[in-house]
Amino acid sequence: MTETPNPVAFTPERLAKVKEVIARYPEGRQKSALLPVLHIAQEQWGWVSSEVMDHVAEILSIEPVEVYEVASFYTMYHLDPVGKHVIEYCRTGPCCLMGGEEIYDYLKQKLGIQAGQTTADGLFTIKEVECLAACGWGPVFQIREQFYMNLTRERVDEIIEELSK
């Protein structure tokens, strides 16, 4: 798990990216950059701490509470520390029809954790999410930007093994 350093600062490459994102919007509308900038922050620190949110507020010249309001509204931002790989598991109907619930039980059993928990070695966190718009290719989970589709027990074994290396 990553601790956020104090004082918080983006890496130079990410800071450049943040500035580029802010420049996309009309003058005075820099708040529009909030969601993309929070994604960049999460990419860097793995989760979004209140220090990080304060820093984002400063960069965008908005009040910290405006960042908290937004970050807590959307489900993709982790407001608590998470494991190295966050398995975002789709729990919605169409995936369940494809056996999603059974594979989910298997995954939880295999990792020995429940939704919202992190394995003792800090490698995996399971997070239940709603529909990932991949219903025809279910069951599905997502780790960072990667979609893992048409899951079976064997496929889950392979993925976990691969990521445990």
Binding site: E63, V65, E66, Y68, E69, S72
Partner: protein, 372 residues
């Protein structure tokens, strides 16, 4: 030079015609009817989130939904859905149904139910009781029984600074306090976190609202979610007597209501109009620190509706004299208590009697419910 007045718009609200300026909302048109004739007060749609002095408020609680039976003279088609009267603007020739439409009243009953499913039903221990808009709303429009059997959401109480306490468990998410905070300060520190029924008003990291006008969030709160820590549980509102007063304040208008218990000022609030709204916010110094009569110039008793519990037991008889017809009505309906059961101190008997009484009460409420 005479001011050019805009062409007025005429609408019909529950069968009553009223003329208002363009841009007026249905709610304001209804209030105009009641302001001209107080006996029509019951026609005005209730407002749980809308608050006129807060320009962006409204449209959320859906308590004020009404039916537009004709959109305008030009296009007299009815609107397909019920509309929130607080944010829907009138059109020439619009016909609105509120208390005259059973579907509106039925929906309103369900809005009470929705607002109450996650709200504790413990008015007797709540500080807001007696001046709670949700309590009034439920009393006037709600059902006597709850159909909700699931768990209710609960939160711990949070102190927002030294003067204000937030108890989210009672919050109905009207957003009024957030809009107030937006209005009184550029540096807002409180807002709405999370989403759906997990939403909460919060400062996230328990920052105090550090602003001279922060106390106003207490007055705008329709329920007991934001309360005055200098007053909490000092009294019940119906035991205190409101007096209008003012002082020469360099921060605010200094126009307040003082709440007395005996000779002691136990609370200071801003003045509310007949719709329960504060037009002039007051500063924290007036609200929390000026609690001596000598701080104030007293103007006289606050006008309180006779029906309000606040007026009970406090004014001279001649001020609250009941009209003749009420006395006559009371005389015809008065029946002496006819209870010949023996007076007992035996706890077992008392227990049985109370169970029996409860059953009777439940039975009565069932009958009332079926009637609706």
């Amino acid at each position: 030079m005479e001011e050019v007045k805009p062409q007025l718009i005429k609408i019909t609200f529950d069968g009553i015609e009223v003329e208002v300026e363009p841009g007026t909302t249905i709610m304001q048109a209804a209030r105009k009817i009641a302001e001209a004739d107080e006996s029509q007060g019951h026609l005005v749609p209730p407002a749980m989130c809308y608050y006129k002095p807060l320009p962006t408020s409204g449209g959320k609680c859906r308590a004020c939904l009404v039916r537009v039976a004709a959109g305008s003279a030009k296009d007299p088609r009815p609107m397909p859905k019920l509309v929130p009267s607080c944010i829907t603007q009138v059109q020439e020739g619009m016909i609105v149904e509120n208390t005259t439409n059973p579907a509106v009243l039925d929906t309103r009953k369900s809005i009470v139910e929705f607002l109450l499913i996650n709200h504790p039903l413990d008015c007797p221990v709540c500080d807001q009781a007696g001046e709670c808009h949700l309590q009034d709303f439920s009393f006037e429009h709600g059902s006597v029984k709850t159909r909700y059997e699931e768990d209710r959401r609960t939160f711990d109480k949070i102190d927002i600074g030294p003067f204000v306490q937030l108890h989210m468990t009672r919050c109905i998410l009207c957003y009024r306090c957030v809009y107030t905070a937006d209005q009184i300060t550029d540096k807002r520190v409180h807002g709405v976190m999370n989403r759906g029924d997990a939403s909460e008003i919060s400062t996230y990291i328990e920052k105090a609202i550090d602003n001279d006008f922060s106390g106003n969030v207490i007055d705008v709160c329709p329920v007991g979610a934001l309360t005055d820590k200098t007053y909490r549980f000092k009294s019940r509102v119906w035991f205190s007597k409101p007096e209008d007063a003012h002082c020469d304040c360099d921060k605010c208008s200094g126009k307040v209501t003082l709440w007395y218990r005996g000779d002691e000022v136990i609370r200071v609030t801003a003045r509310k109009n007949m719709w329960g709204e504060v037009n002039e916010f007051i500063c924290n110094k007036c609200r929390f620190e000026r609690k001596k009569t000598s701080d104030w110039v007293i103007e006289g008793p606050t006008k309180v509706k006779r029906s309000s519990v606040i007026s009970a037991n406090k004014y001279r008889k001649d001020l609250i004299a009941k009209p003749d017809f009420a006395l006559k009505l009371a005389a015809t309906q008065f029946k002496p208590i006819d209870d010949e059961r023996e007076y007992t101190t035996d706890s077992e008997t008392i227990r049985h009697q109370s169970i029996e009484n409860n059953d009777k009460a439940n039975h009565r409420s069932l009958l009332t419910d079926n009637r609706n």
